[in-house]
């Protein structure tokens, strides 16, 4: 069976360092940190009091107030990113076959704010069960995909993928496969997440997963630095329009890049700790390369999961060295989480966008906040510290790993003929 080619024809991003794709890229190429003290709730009693929030978001510019009220923030963010992607793709909804157009969004958690607020209300009451009828539809993780399909009339496959911090990459791989297999022509895919709430920060603090560098939020996310002390919680959404290559060509769409491969594996090791030798991580990169029918030498850039946790960064770099061998010294490696923080289920989406824009602009976004070398990392590796680096990129690989031991990697390639 011949697999169809899949290309990226539209992008949308709502991130802690920029509320549109051009602003996001501007932030990435200039090494801007999105971290600041938490404003979404009073965090004064929390071990971590900062996060990477989306700033200056005026939801009602995009979504009617009456509708917005029925949505959790994660859904609102996903809709806003989808809107930018649809417009960017120049899609004429009158002309495409909407039955062959789908939506697959990733979310690690879903409507945590809605869940927390409604349950808190009930717990504070006298036991009378007065639950809002919008409670469940606001909270469930799939609802953003549902709202997007209602807005644009996309009637093809429609669901959410949930694999913690790999969710969006899993969404993209699923959409990729449905197009390759000729089950659909076009997808809105990516991820959205909004968990900067008491429950989100408190929960991750209890896991000792978050940086507690409260005196310096903007330098807290420091992947590969000796003094890294955990990830910085982020929020936001990213959307990609994936399209059958012939379909895109026929409508004269602009093409950002080609999606050429995806890999998915499990560590089968521990619920939150990464496999110490990065076994699942190396296997997933190998699978993505095999799927793309590429050799390690064909890759110029790896956008790492690199969350700035003490263990995760080490096992991922071990995995890269295992897969790429000597070529590991030729590639650029960078963690854009040093700037955006960790968007959990949306991370794979904005990092896919970062990888695509890196290819398009021949520029590697940096790993900011490097102060002190860690002897755990081979100094011959180019971890793209502190400043963006110019480079022709033939292909870029993006990694995401999630609690539960889920690993997912995708490869984008510069478009050729």
């Amino acid at each position: 069976m011949n697999l169809r080619r899949v290309v990226v024809t539209g992008l949308g991003a709502l991130t802690p360092i920029g509320n549109t794709v051009p602003e996001f890229w501007n932030g990435l190429s200039n090494g801007v940190s999105g971290a600041a003290p938490i404003t979404r709730f009073d965090a004064s009693l929390f071990k971590t009091q900062f996060a990477c929030e989306v700033k200056n978001l005026e939801v009602e510019q995009f979504i009617d107030r009456k509708e917005a009220r029925k949505m959790d923030l994660f859904t609102q963010m996903g809709l806003i990113a989808a809107d930018e992607a649809i417009k960017d793709a120049g899609l004429d909804l009158e002309k495409i076959n909407l039955h062959r157009a789908g939506v697959i969004m990733g979310s690690g958690i879903g409507g945590l704010r809605s869940f927390q607020d409604e349950v808190t209300d009930f717990a504070r009451g006298d036991g009378t069960p007065r639950f809002n009828p919008f409670f469940i539809p606001k909270m469930i993780a799939d609802i953003c995909a549902g709202f997007i399909s209602i807005k644009y009339g996309f009637r093809g496959p429609n669901f959410v993928t949930v694999s913690a911090c790999a969710s969006a990459t899993n969404a993209i791989i699923d959409a990729f496969n449905y197009i390759r297999l000729n089950k659909a022509d076009i997808f809105i895919t990516g991820g959205t997440e909004a968990t900067i709430t008491e429950a989100g920060v408190g929960g991750f603090n209890a896991l000792k997963a978050l940086s507690q560098r409260n005196d310096s939020p903007t330098t807290a996310s420091r992947p590969f630095d000796k003094d890294r002390d955990g990830f910085v919680l982020g929020e936001g959404a990213g959307c990609l329009i994936l399209e059958d290559y012939e379909h895109a060509k026929a409508r004269g769409a602009k093409i950002y890049a080609e999606l050429v491969g995806g890999g998915m594996t499990a560590d089968a090791y521990h619920i939150t700790a990464p496999h110490p030798e990065g076994e699942g991580a190396s296997n997933v990169m190998k699978h993505a390369l095999e799927d793309a029918e590429m050799q390690p030498e064909d890759i110029d850039y790896v956008n790492v999961h690199g969350t700035s946790t003490p263990l995760g960064d080490i096992s991922e770099v071990k995995a890269i060295q295992k897969v790429f061998g000597e070529h590991a010294y030729n590639i650029n490696i960078s963690s854009t989480k040093s700037m955006t923080g960790h968007l959990l289920g949306a991370a794979g989406a904005i990092e896919a966008i970062a990888s695509i824009l890196a290819i398009k602009n021949s520029l590697i976004p940096p790993t900011i906040n490097h102060f002190t070398d860690d002897e755990e990392f081979d100094p011959r590796l180019n971890l793209t510290f502190n400043k963006a680096q110019k480079r022709e990129i033939r292909a870029a690989l993006s990694n995401t790993f999630g609690f539960g031991g889920h690993n997912a990697s995708i490869i984008f390639k510069k478009i050729t003929g």
């Binding site: 009617d64 009456k66 009220r69 009378t128 007065r130 809002n132 009828p133 919008f134």
Partner: protein
């Protein structure tokens, strides 16, 4: 206008996102004010919260207009 009627109108304006001038006694939640079945359930719940009473389902089903809501509440709020 009674205090109850004023509060009812304010809740409807807030939850359904409509203009106050549209909220006439004859206005039907679903036919005139753009509510779907979930919006209607939410309105009843908001009335229960605001006026601290419980509206049984069979009676809630009889409340379809602004006027019906006001009459019911005026008769039942202590």
């Amino acid at each position: 206008m009674s205090e109850i009627a004023q509060k009812v109108k304010a809740i409807i304006v807030d939850k359904l996102g409509v203009e106050e001038s549209e909220v006439t006694p004859e206005a039907s939640f679903t036919n005139d004010l753009g509510a779907d079945s979930l919006d209607t359930v939410e309105l009843i719940m908001e009335f229960e919260k605001e006026f601290n009473l419980s509206i049984p389902d069979d009676q809630a089903e009889q409340i379809g207009t602004v006027g019906q809501a006001i009459s019911y509440l005026e008769a039942n709020v202590k």
